[in-house]
Symmetry: C2
Subunit: 306 residues, 2 copies
Amino acid sequence: MSRQSFELLVLGTSSASPTSTRNPSSQLLNIAERYFLIDCGEATQIQLRKYKAKFQAIDHIFISHLHGDHFFGLPGLLSSMHLLGRKQSLCIYCPPELPQLMAHINSVSETTLNFTINWILTDSTPNKLIFEDEKVQVFSFPLKHRIFCTGFLFKEKPLPRKIDKYQLDKYQVSTAYIGLLRAGMDVTNNKGELIPNKHVTLDPELPRTFAYCSDTKYDESIVEIIKNVDLLYHESTFLEEHKERAKKTFHSTASEAALMAKKAGVKQLLIGHFSARYSQLDEFLKQASPHFEETMLAIEGKKIII
Amino acid sequence: MSRQSFELLVLGTSSASPTSTRNPSSQLLNIAERYFLIDCGEATQIQLRKYKAKFQAIDHIFISHLHGDHFFGLPGLLSSMHLLGRKQSLCIYCPPELPQLMAHINSVSETTLNFTINWILTDSTPNKLIFEDEKVQVFSFPLKHRIFCTGFLFKEKPLPRKIDKYQLDKYQVSTAYIGLLRAGMDVTNNKGELIPNKHVTLDPELPRTFAYCSDTKYDESIVEIIKNVDLLYHESTFLEEHKERAKKTFHSTASEAALMAKKAGVKQLLIGHFSARYSQLDEFLKQASPHFEETMLAIEGKKIII
């Protein structure tokens, strides 16, 4: 059996204004066929179509904060979901002001969506569990931006133990016990002997993790929360030459993002949210890599399999 | 001297939901270097960049109605104008509910635009003058849609009479009188003789006109308003096979748009606002042309010079 999906698709990489080659922030994360849309800048629905992502499969949308480049695509996406016949409910995790704004938008267009939105409002609690099912947990945590903003931490739950079929036969354990063995329990074999779980199972792969940090200034208070994640997305709006501007606008530079990755001991770093002033992005990689080698640029359409 | 500009650039042609090849409604009209943006569906700012239109030159935005596919691109466009340093004020002609909604959007993102918006609210007065300067007039008129919606009629003002230089010399009229002659007045020549205006001037070209009608069901009550325009844009959301759906949703079919063009005696017809259900558009032209031959499909990036 192949391992369950854990894939990130980059949909938008620009900060503030889009450019002729970069759209505003959005990413689509697939964990075990749960599709999590993270931020929804203008034209996200167009990007979803471009990269052939089934957007009716999205049941959870996470909005980090209410600057337009992170949510101006939401009204259009919801409207299209409605027009294309969506019936199943949708969960939106967002700052408290968004539900009322969406109601205002629907009221001027005299629109009543054909599906229910469950609003889950974020707050500044560090590491707050906001979603959980049998395979995935999602936590929010506050970032340091000009307005209220949260990051999100996506965690696969511990996977079941793997059955070692050869040992199962050898110890004469019935396959009826597979469920219990996967859950880590000891079982009795056909001869009535107690078989310790570890004799017939193997350790599963470690659960995978992804942390999304946009927008924020450099802030070491989140290191404990994002520690050791497999993939960290950290905003990197500016290059070193504009670090004063970064400070003033509560954004990060490429090297700050890389320092954060290093301090948190993450496996890979993805940087994005590039200011429209930069037409070439190579310099971002040049400035980040000396601090943290496993750095990648967020490029639209890029898929990262963890 | 070449004639002043009168050009329409098509930016978006889809109804309701965008498709992988069509964006929601938007058009940019340039009359004598006044740039009028008409409707502003999601991603209009991206389309403006794609077709290299200088969007800081836009001083007037017309919103026909408040269905999302006609204005969801407005918050992002205004935000980009702000971020890119716009200072000059902007006029927005729109239904009465929009200013408050925009204020709500700016309030959640704690944004104060660096420029003033002059809101000019549309109403259901037929043929109401909503903009005028020395070269152009714009009128609004009600359309018949599910929610309050107006069309817009753009008119070049009568052009000054043309000076006939040969006759000017012949009749010995001083060039100091050119201003008066252009305005149609008779003048005195160097010998003190009265020279009738028509002896030394030529008729100017006729003023050009463009009417924008989206969204609406077939409605002959607008025929008088759009009569004889050089270019009529009329929505054509559906093909004949879905004419019941058109009726129900207060939209038009391709043949209805063509009938309207015929009844109004316009010179050219541009059809658009195509439903996402149609991937090919040839059939729209096939169904419209028998009623009105000078029909064109709205294709993104198409520029029509009138």
